[in-house]
Amino acid sequence: MMPTNSENPKQLTFDLLDDAMFLGLSEGTDAISDAQVSEIGPLIELGAYLDSLPNGLDPDSPIVNAFSTAKTGKLQLGVHSFFKSIEVVNVPVSVEAIEENEWQSFLLRSQQAAHAAQGDTSLAKAIASTIAEMSENIIWHSDKIESGIVGYQYSKGRFDYVVSDTGIGILASLSKSDQFLSIPDSTEALKLALKNGVSRFSNSRRGTGFNSLVLNLSKRGCDIRFRSGDVSLTFEGIRSFRESAPPDPVIRTCPWIPGFTISFTYLVGQS
């Protein structure tokens, strides 16, 4: 088990999660099982990883408990926790469910939370729009709608959200279209999907759902991590904010996980 400093407890971050997955089931489990959870992004991504394991992690381990509890919206956060509030729900599984009060209220609450975190109504609406749009993508593209979850977490000055499924992933989704059969791997598939206008659907006006996320939000000083298959592509807008331009994406090879997960973080004062 990796050493833990009691004054600076180990936190579950994307880096730690990637490292743990590279270590494999046994050592990797040890590496993360005692980590504190303070960020919703790596927690939900861990959920996708757990889904890919035949037996999952030990159900009594704190990290699995944290994930299970997060899905019920009652995550108990550590004393060092940065966050104020968290809510995780299942993505609607049908057009009818999109219109139901349960989902509509969630979208409203996420917008209110985004506003409470950073005070800009316009940005809060833009964020909520992308939550809705990314969630609907699961219905269109995942082939495993029932696996879709979406959550947000906020505190004064910070707003995070995650949209995740454990479906077929971006490579298999795009490869359903004849014109994308030759895509070699998840890296190329992700890069292609984030290009304007690319979709497996033949309608030329489809496939622009990432525009708002990438063009609008990333250039306002946000981190956006796209994770599918064995790759992550991150717009590190918080670290490398540039006026009016999205940051260049950072591509990393990662251990394989199913489906597609988008993690978004906005920190006030970065733009």
Binding site: V95, I98, Q104, A128, E136, I139, G197, S204, R205, N216
Partner: protein
């Protein structure tokens, strides 16, 4: 002026997405009918925020359908986020929409177009707006230094009408093109 108010159809979150649009689509179609005299139809976005998917899956088809019914779609009261979404979509799918602001008394202001128009097309729209309406012959005389024939002018005007940016009125054997909407 015919107006379709999306606020009467928008879900509680105020967000119009691709999937919410699937149901709204038929309700909007119900409010469109064929008209003898070409006229504008306003799609009012007050109290609504629309995503790119809503535009691509609902607004574009509505625009094309309305055009076949002799109606010219104009988008009114888009909030800044919605306007941005539309602008990005039109960068990817080159096209143009007329937008404006309207109040409860049907007063129209801030008419503009979103999307790509070249300098020449902008010039034609400005000229038609200033003249209040014109045919190809009038424009060929007005811009005679351009040495463009009447047929070429007709093609240009017709293309702008196809985009829904100019109303085409047949007058005998000629066609008069007018602004779709005017400020008042």
């Amino acid at each position: 002026m015919n107006r379709i108010f999306l606020k009467e159809m928008v879900p509680p979150s105020g967000l119009l997405t691709g999937l919410t649009g699937l149901k709204i689509y038929s309700r909007i179609l119900e409010q469109l009918g064929a008209v003898q005299v070409p006229q504008p139809i306003l799609l009012d976005f007050q109290e609504a925020s629309a995503t790119g998917s809503f535009f691509s899956q609902v607004v574009f088809p509505i625009r094309d359908y309305a055009r076949r019914l002799n109606q010219y779609l104009v988008l009114s009261n888009l909030n800044p986020e919605t306007r941005l979404e539309l602008a990005w979509l039109l960068e990817v799918n080159p096209d143009t929409f007329l937008v404006c602001e309207t109040d409860s008394h049907d007063n129209v202001s801030n008419i503009a177009w979103i999307g790509g128009l070249d300098e020449r097309q902008c010039g034609i729209l400005s000229a038609i707006s200033a003249l209040g309406g014109a045919d190809a012959t009038t424009l060929s005389k007005k811009f005679k230094e351009d040495h463009i024939g009447i047929t070429a002018w007709n093609n240009r005007l017709s293309a702008l009408s196809d985009k829904g940016l100019l109303i085409e009125n047949k007058s005998g054997r000629s066609k008069i093109y007018k602004p779709v909407i005017k400020e008042n």
